[in-house]
């Protein structure tokens, strides 16, 4: 593995580095837990890595409450997420991080890296999609554009990011105050630890004091080319009474989740298994 690096410390230096290298082959490095294994497998000629690890810009490195929601900087680590007090009200996110790799990896792997790697098995990405989060992209001219995460992934390992852009942060918009929250992350794997999901389901559903479902966000991982927001399943739940869902309702919900699954058979599981297990876990959450 051999590449040159640039380590910007300020946003100005970062933007300058991006502009200067438009004609060259460069990639960003954050926690390196995806980038190093990828480059060790296949080195890319003439690669320049723009090393984000030294960047001192709190928009990238911290998690904070703002008027429009909770903003998570792209460079915050999984460990930062786990210990942040504002994020505890999103069990879907916390459980996704808890299911993630090992302590060693969680201490360095970043939220932005998980999103930008665009793996269909990205656990934290799946939780953020279920939460209706929005990506905030910094353009080399200093401007920010926003793209909902539901539109962020364009295929396996591809995103809407252009060559002169990088992910700065994600915003979880404020949600209606809820009486009850049903929120969690189910990851199906072959073992308990250090597992890449065979299928996963992220859900965050809220009700009012009468049990009426006021918001629903569910997303699936590892069962299609990208993580997918299961919109029709969410719409199906809206307005229903959480405590009075019939067996048929639960099955209709699971059928709707499956509409977004197009799993493949590979060495870890068959398409048939992924289908079945996704249907079962979908039904089981209600």
């Amino acid at each position: 593995m051999d590449f040159r690096t640039i380590s910007p410390q300020t946003t100005e230096e970062l933007l300058e580095a991006i502009k200067q290298n438009q004609g060259k082959h460069f990639r960003f490095g954050a926690g390196y837990t995806d980038l190093i294994p990828e480059l060790e497998m296949q080195m890319e000629n003439g690669l320049i890595v723009i090393n984000l690890a030294k960047l001192k810009d709190s928009n990238f490195t911290s998690i904070f409450l703002s008027e429009d929601g909770i903003r998570i900087g792209a460079l915050t680590t999984m460990t930062d997420v786990l210990s942040n007090k504002h994020l505890q009200k999103f069990p879907v996110l916390i459980e996704a991080v808890e299911s993630f790799a090992s302590v060693q990896i969680r201490s360095v792997a970043t939220v932005g890296g998980n999103l930008c790697t665009a793996s269909p098995a990205g656990d934290v990405s799946c939780a953020l999609v279920a939460l209706g989060a929005v990506s905030e992209i910094l353009i080399a001219n200093g401007q920010i554009r926003t793209v909902p995460l539901t539109e962020f992934f364009t295929g396996v390992k591809t995103t809407v990011l252009k060559k002169n852009e990088l992910l700065r942060s994600v915003l979880i918009p404020h949600q209606k105050s809820a009486e009850r929250i049903l929120s969690g992350f189910i990851k199906i794997g072959n073992r308990n630890s250090m597992e890449i999901a065979l299928a996963s389901l992220a859900y965050h559903i809220t009700t009012d004091k009468n049990g009426i479902i006021t918001s629903a966000g569910t997303a699936v991982g590892s069962v299609a080319e990208t993580i997918r927001y299961t919109e029709s399943a969410c719409e199906f739940l809206l307005g229903k009474n959480m405590d009075q869902l019939s067996e048929e309702d639960k099955e209709t919900f699971a059928d709707n989740v499956l509409k977004y699954a197009n799993p493949i058979s590979d060495i870890r599981a068959s398409a048939w298994y992924r289908h079945q297990v996704l249907w079962n876990i979908s039904k089981s959450i209600l």
Partner: protein
């Protein structure tokens, strides 16, 4: 400007080090090949086994997935930093020995560093972990010999 070489300055096991390094060099290679500290083990070289675990500012990381340029300004501890000629074994090492938690020993340095980081974090929070939490915190360390029970016993005895 992009550089193929970078100047770094950091402390390792309490000693200050200043070097010019290849910018893409891994921390594990710097520790083993440049500093000749062979206690940090190369296992999978992919973040799966934890044999290469070291502490960066007190936190356990896989040195096989870490660029050496990113320890600039930080403090690194390897297993060699836990004990020495004047210093007897660290409590974590002593507990591993007492509980017979070492067989071939290949995973041991990484295991000890991961436990060290976990213990300081628990101490910091005045927290006594149960066996499940101990297991969860050793997810990133593979041992092919012991079957883990004695390692978990050794950690439990630290609290």
């Amino acid at each position: 400007m992009e550089t193929a070489q970078s100047k770094i300055s950091f402390t390792i096991n309490g000693k200050k080090v200043e070097r010019r390094v290849r910018s893409s060099m891994l921390l594990i290679d710097f520790i083993r090949n440049e500093l000749k500290l062979k206690g940090t083990k190369p296992g999978c070289l992919g973040g799966e086994c934890g044999a290469c675990t070291v502490l960066v500012d007190g936190v356990a990381v896989n040195s096989c997935l870490y660029l050496v340029i990113n320890v600039d300004g930080k403090s690194v501890t390897t297993v060699e930093g836990l004990s020495g000629e004047e210093q007897s074994l660290d409590v974590v090492q002593l507990s591993m020995v007492e509980h017979g938690a070492v067989q071939c020993g290949f995973c041991t340095p990484g295991m000890v560093m991961a436990i060290k980081s976990f213990k300081s974090q628990c101490d910091h929070n005045h927290h006594t972990p149960d066996r499940e939490e101990i297991k969860k915190n050793l997810e990133g360390n593979i041992c092919r010999c012991t079957g883990y029970v004695k390692i978990i016993d050794a950690v439990e005895a630290l609290f």
